[in-house]
Symmetry: C3
Subunit: 417 residues, 3 copies
């Protein structure tokens, strides 16, 4: 199956599961991902202190509905977005007026069901289309949420591809959203394919599949962030929009420059860091300030279907996920080869011709990229400029500059600085 | 009386007085200002060395005219601009040709009388409309200037509003121009209202009413400029043009950032420092290099009525002075609350929800300014960024950011850095 | 003879000589330049190690042709570009097919003869118009190159104008191209006139006439580059295009700021440094990183006639060379007078009026450049800003600022910082 179709199939398979920040929906999601990647699954008990937070009780839900005369008008079995995440159990008969305070709709998008949660304030609620609500007559309704909140654990998983060095690149995806396809099963699907294609990399690559906010915080609380050299938060990876890269808090981290380079010749947008969005919020909190950016297509809250039932598997396309994946791979290629070299023959140009590195016929004005790349690498390899900076400055493809560095290093003219 | 009318009334009352860099015109001006503000008036004797300068002799004038056949053709009593400031006494009969070398006109603005001075070279002269000159027949004229130059003193005044700290904000207005309304009785009127509205501020505010150049130099010679943290030179505060802020010599002083923020959403112009204009020239001389900018409406020499009889009370409006005053007050509000904080919980985001600082219903995409402001303050409060920088970076109003900081500090999540 | 005509006459006289990186063509060129400038000619023996390179064997050529039936079809005597530089001797009869691998043409510019060299790979070849080749019938051709490659020396020359200080400004021209007028006999001609007009300068000026690449490398190997404070590589100085300045590798060297200032009000282009072009490649190699930029009209490889027989004396004009020379002289004027001063009276403005430096009549709004220049120099002379920075900041001509500094220094208000 082509890669795009494979990713789309995974999105469709994961889509119906009722995920939240804890519970069996996350476990089932990770089990399916685990069919393709070797995962280490972590269970962190309720009550565990993680940084400023505490792991909450685990939430599971079996059924929920609003019924009238025995007919389910709002039905969790049809769409799990209908229940506010972390709703406490309820089984009552109520009038529509009593019920209204527990109903969430989108008046401006009357046919769509919103996604709502209440993780840390005990309450219950239903999400439904405004059109559905408008059609509900006054009278009594049976209201059922068959859920439970109990001590248990928070679940997250890691897949590690060992590298030549312990310095890590992390790729982080949130897995806490129920039936929302672009946000974030598309990100999970792209991460899975990216992970599968890594072969003996230079850096160690760590893929983190964790619930948003509390999951990233739990991971940070239990790991040494100092080994994280670069990272990407992957989300909204499959819609039809063009790519958006949101810079790390540093703004000039290597990952920021890498993505700018890789996206240079594609339609794209680069945004400055803001402390609102996905788990880059945690990785880029001031105490960590990691070189972690966020790659999306249409960004956080940027499309009308965002956090609604409109974000279904038809909202994401195989082609878009392949495009996101391609950019991730190109970014990895640059990260892997980017180094800072020192020119060992910095006084004047070394004589490249006698080393077979320069064409012998002089006078031509159409110098090849390969020769220009060698001259740029020699000129700027003073310990201050890495290859990516040189490629940007020279307006040459990174791979041409990296190949030039390899040739010059093989000739003894460069060493790693 | 509304504020605007009160300021305009003050301009009209001060306008007729014959001010110069010394003399009774300044004293009368300060006496009128002193009806509204508690002023300390300083008299610095002629001959006092002030920095590189010496306080000159005091100049006073009772009358002056050019008459023909007993009729006053140019009459100081009608408009004090008619006499060149610091003119030595004269009483002669002269032909028009002899007189011409002492006459100043504006050939391109034939109906306006220019403003001219000669403080440091002893001479005399008259300023008149070109049209008046053109109508003067050849023949003999009686020329009278009943002035005197004698040892006396230079007069300036201060009004101080004590703050919680000794660090000072200065507001400096020149009071040496005779009948010119925008330049600078409007600046004086705005400063008076600003001073009256300050209540128990953080900084100590010092309002300086002094003659231009020599007055500012005298003040600098007699005070410790090191306590001046911020300052504004107020001039041309009442014409119908939009606001202009001229940066301090530093260009990135806090006052420069404050004014850029306050003016952001108004029609305005920001100019780089130049060593030409008002008393910012002295405060920003390289030995002091204070964080003092200059706020005007249409800037120095930027309007045709500048330094002419066209700058009369009708040239300034209550509305314009109110607008200038409003911006001054907003700038003061920012200065007063701008601080550098440190996030006490910098690893990951602190859990705002359990502190009642974050709304409990998740999933919505329309985060409120108040919540965004808290996230920005937490993320950037690393000791490097003050609240104003955070507000600019977050594109949020300063007051929203300051309120967020107050809430976070109250919750123990921030402390002053 | 006017300067422009004199330069053009020199170009025409030097044009026919068969220069290369070594050999008698360079010696003859330097002998003619030596008629106008006092030159020190250096001969560096074959085999001498110069940085990473070795001085090659010397190449001389007496005759060359491709003939058929005794008729010269390609004739070195008619145009020395016809022979690939450093061609080894050959005397054979060959078919056209055998010959083709040794022939160089420009299919897209069929009437022009290209310029080609093979300094470091022993081979031979002819350059000819595509039209000539197209007209050559199959059959046998006599092929003669009467050249020799033998131990000898590399020749370059220097002309030095001693200055008040040992710090040097270098002006470097390559003299290795055979019959190409703009590239670089025009550069040589401009350098000669510039050198002749220098009188008792502040800096020591060193004019270097050397073969490209190996010549500059030889000069660098034999001299102390640390004394080079500023420099210009002069090339393509006579075509009809506007001026192009290519920055030094530093990008903000004083020479870079000087040329930006001098070119400000002319049609021009400023390019960032790149490690491809003329001998700035060597002077700006990372070990030296000298403040040396490159001044051309249409830059390196930027015109269709570049490195072809189209670059003949008609391609350069007296007017263009005069324009290049004028800019060089203006740049020298700025370099010579640019200093960093310290204001000796930095607290407030010094009283310029009593020193006769400020006009006594106050109130006018049309301050003169000379007065503005004094205020700017006083305000910014804090040891951080040189006069050129002040002129750029004040948007005043450099000479006005330098004159102000002279006046202030004469009054004891400034000293060299």
């Amino acid at each position: 199956m082509p890669e795009g179709d494979r990713m789309h199939a995974l999105v469709r398979r994961l889509y119906p599961l009722c995920r939240s920040i804890t519970g069996d929906g996350v476990r089932e999601t990770l089990a399916i991902v685990g069919e393709q990647l070797d995962l280490t699954v972590h269970e962190v008990p309720t009550g565990t202190q993680v940084l400023d937070w505490t792991v909450p009780q685990e939430w599971n839900i079996r059924d929920a509905h609003i019924s009238r005369d025995g007919e389910r008008i709002v039905d969790f079995q049809a769409l799990n977005l209908h229940v506010v995440g972390y709703s406490v159990p309820v089984h009552r008969t109520m009038t529509l007026d009593e019920l209204r305070g527990h109903l969430h709709t989108l008046p401006d998008q009357p046919s769509l069901v919103p996604y709502r949660t209440s993780y840390y304030a005990p309450t219950w609620g239903f999400c439904l289309a405004q059109a559905t609500l408008d059609a509900m007559p006054d009278g009594d309704y049976e209201v059922v949420i068959d859920s439970d909140l109990a001590d248990g654990s928070l679940t997250y998983a890691e897949h590690v591809v060992p590298g030549q060095v312990d310095d890590e690149v992390i790729v982080s995806c949130h897995v806490c959203h129920p039936s929302l396809a672009n946000d974030n099963m598309a990100g999970v699907a792209v991460a899975v394919e990216l992970a599968k294609s890594l072969r003996n990399p230079y850096y160690t690559y760590r893929f983190i599949f964790a619930p948003g906010t509390i999951g990233a915080i739990t991971w940070l609380a239990r790991n040494d962030a100092a080994r994280v050299r670069h990272g990407l938060v992957l989300a909204c990876a499959g819609d039809r929009g063009s790519l958006t890269y949101k810079q790390s808090r540093r703004g000039d981290a290597e990952i920021d420059r890498v993505l700018a380079h890789v996206l240079r010749d594609r339609p794209h947008e680069i945004r400055e860091f803001s402390p609102y969005g996905y788990d880059e919020r945690q990785y880029c909190s001031p105490g960590y300030n990691l070189g972690v950016g966020s790659l999306t297509r249409t960004p956080y809250a940027g499309y009308p279907e965002y956090h609604t039932s409109g974000d279904d598997p038809d909202f994401v396309t195989p082609e878009s996920m392949v495009d996101t994946l391609t950019v991730c791979r190109e970014a990895v290629d640059v990260l892997e080869r980017n180094r800072r070299y020192v020119n060992m023959s910095p006084y004047g140009e070394p004589q490249l011709g006698r080393r077979g590195l320069y064409e012998s016929l002089g006078g031509r004005s159409d110098a090849k990229d390969a020769q220009l790349a060698m001259l740029w690498v020699l000129n700027l390899s003073d310990g201050d400029h890495d290859l990516l900076t040189i490629a940007d400055r020279a307006r040459l493809p990174f791979q041409a500059v990296a190949a030039a560095a390899d040739a010059l290093a093989a000739a003894g003219l460069l060493k790693v600085g």
